[in-house]
Symmetry: D3
Subunit: 185 residues, 6 copies
């Protein structure tokens, strides 16, 4: 059952939104009181040093990962191409995500770790001094790095999948320090 | 004397890659025989009608998904913003993925389905008549749509995660018809 | 009175759409039957030679236009900078317009005409052989050329305005030949 | 009569620019004393909170506007797609306008108002703390939002036109507060 | 002595262009008869398989080149990063060069050769089947690859220089086969 | 266990990099200790007023340069198109150069000088107040301006070449004031 259809039938049945639900709605800061999406004005927030880390895992056949490791010994390492793609993607984030602020990023890195015979973990760290955070830049970096690994290996393993794209750490904003453990082997 | 060659001979002497492994390495078509990455020349492949479908799921707290559903009743629907982001991303794919071919895309769509109280499934379909396929465009569309859902809801649920980014179907190339079942609730 | 507000109150009053109205809705080809926006699949349309012309006018104080004319005598002509901006914008159209197809444009030109002492007319012509037309490329070219004239002269005439952005001619598609007269002095 | 031709004949007749005219020329800050265009160095201007608002109107057949309103009741609202396009365009402004400064925008919103049975008004507001203003970002936002409305409705109303693209308000720079009334029904 | 100044004084002295010179002017196909720049309409040219090769050299201190070579043994090879940058730049060419046609590139590669203790040669090859050639894509690829080498080594050798950016070969268009020898050590 | 580390230890065993060479390697700030490329974190550097100047020369047949000069008398000056391309390229630098920081540029100019009957010199100056410098923006500006001259004249002189792309001056960072003489006729 598709959501579009669901919503339409729900509209027919019930055009009222309860007061409690309305309150929840206003928590989504990307919408104003009338419900219009916007790039939130962050002009009143202070400039602080902000950092975000995100991770993703790419799952593949053991033969595929063995091939990537072998390539790491030669030129044209898969992870090196994916690393460059991930770092460059941090600077394209506000071209991709509609309500994201453009930020003068100060640092970005992308690292790769082999968790087990069929799993690669990717972690990105992004830094800035700005009025808003860089979670989306870190999340975009790991996503694009993972997509690049997929692109480079899809000729031998079309069934690869990307999972666990999530925020690991965020610091520097008024919402406090968020941190959680990375996935491990 | 080419630098690539220099490295390869040194690798042969020192880093020990077995002949069998070498064969696997050459299956990664994004690298040439010397190991250099490249945008593969597809000029000799025929122009055929090609299609690719990909999916991703976004997992979140039930309260978050309830909020998104409520928003669907008003203006500024989260899924509509994410849909636009995913469609636009199909056209930025070769700006993001280093060895991807630029293609004159002929159609793209992104759909959303609520699987259960905390899971949203996103599916993208992309069409082209070209010498190479559109898997990366479909994979990029679901990734960017999922990142946009994350961006719009992160103020209330920073722990959301994106999983199951994978190819569902691919047709039109010489590698044949690839198809698998979508994730279901 | 804002539309957002209007729509919401209308929703409360009237969630039914009449059959006649439904028929009209489906004429907007950028939406599918369920109402979801999409990049329409044009794969079944034939490749034909297509052309579109669009125009815009920029209105300004006579002193401003006199200054632009004087500059035309020296280096750094305002119209030359705007012409380059308009031509380059034809190639960015699908980066800007969410449901627009990317096209391998074959030709583009932007011209300027002084209609009277305070009015400049801009005309753009774009050519392609493709499955869909180039109206948006021509419309975007005149808009960006006009915005560039505004940018370069805003320090002396902040009240300038851009009007009459419209399609003048379109040929090559199944919808037939559309043509109308340009604005004249 | 085209301006290019006019300028050339004028060059033949009259290569002198009067002293009074010369003074006017130098007011165009995008050119230096030798007449070369440039991105003006704003390094000596103070960082201040700046805001700009701009508007545009889209004129169409009443049937077209009725169709847009009907769509507002379902998914895939024309104005919502145009809103996203306008907001994203604020961040592409310096990619489009040749001598425009890139700015770390802090807020952007785009709103739609139905003025009468055939006229839609679009208004954009952009905020930044920077050494130069955001007029071009606001002007570009309303232009791209209007072009998107055109794109989505052109299959039913090719003759739509965009008018009244102009600055409504600007504050925060040394040139003082500029403000004027929006167009009304 | 700057050209701007020179041109202006020449304008004052001599506004006539001789008939012979006029003929030469029209050879620049990027301008029409009235002198306006344009993206030339290539719609009447046949689609043919086209190829272009270009080269550039980067000159540096022997210590710098030794460092690059050492890095080639580890991760993060300077040439690999530059190779990716060069390949990606082929797809950005029409974003950078004002009158360049956007083309659906079919193949691109960038190679590095150490000519002597202080000189690196870069060569790019680009392929397409289109109505116009890919010289600019190959020239842009070597330029951006060379700029990336500069960027990565500038902290130890600010005086590096890039030379000999030139076309080596071009085939597939009506202007015939152009080929010349690469620079050698 | 990180993959980078794995490679490094293997290198230590097999590929023999001497301790002295290792020291040199770490001078390339775009790599971290493990050898991974990154966008260096400049968050701890102070914001200072920074400037960079770069130059390039374009060599061509005397007939080609004569044609460019003649065009300078009419509309559509080759140098004016190249100037706009160079200025716009300063703002695309971090889209092109993988490890380059995005910067809110405050000023940019590109100038042209005819050195002799077959040589044009291009100079770019870029300004910013930021934590890192603008050498790459100035180097990219002269490269893209030179490529544009090549593009506009290649129909009459395919053998043109671009040389001497190099930094002329850099000020404002902790590495001190770097300056050298431009090439002269």
């Amino acid at each position: 059952m598709w959501f579009c259809a669901g919503i339409v039938s729900q509209l027919t049945r019930n055009c009222g939104v309860s007061p409690a639900e309305r309150q929840t709605v206003t928590e989504l800061t990307h919408f104003d009181d009338s419900g219009a999406s916007r790039m939130v004005d962050v002009g009143d927030k202070p400039v602080t040093a902000r950092m975000a880390r995100a991770e993703a895992v790419v799952e593949m056949r053991p033969e595929t990962l063995a091939t990537i490791r072998d390539r790491g010994l030669a030129k044209g390492d898969v992870f090196e191409v994916a690393r460059i793609a991930g770092i460059m993607a941090t600077r394209r984030t506000s071209d991709l995500i509609p309500l994201c602020h453009p930020l003068p990023l100060e640092g970005a890195r992308v690292d790769f770790e082999i968790l087990d015979s069929q799993t690669v973990r990717i972690e990105a760290t992004v830094n800035v001094r700005a009025r808003t955070g860089v979670e989306m830049e870190a999340m975009t970096a790991v996503s694009v790095a993972a997509l690049t690994v997929y692109d480079m290996c899809k000729s031998i393993d079309r069934a690869m999948s990307i999972s666990g794209v999530r925020l690991l750490e965020k610091s520097g904003g008024k919402s406090g320090h968020f941190v959680r453990e990375p996935v491990s082997s």
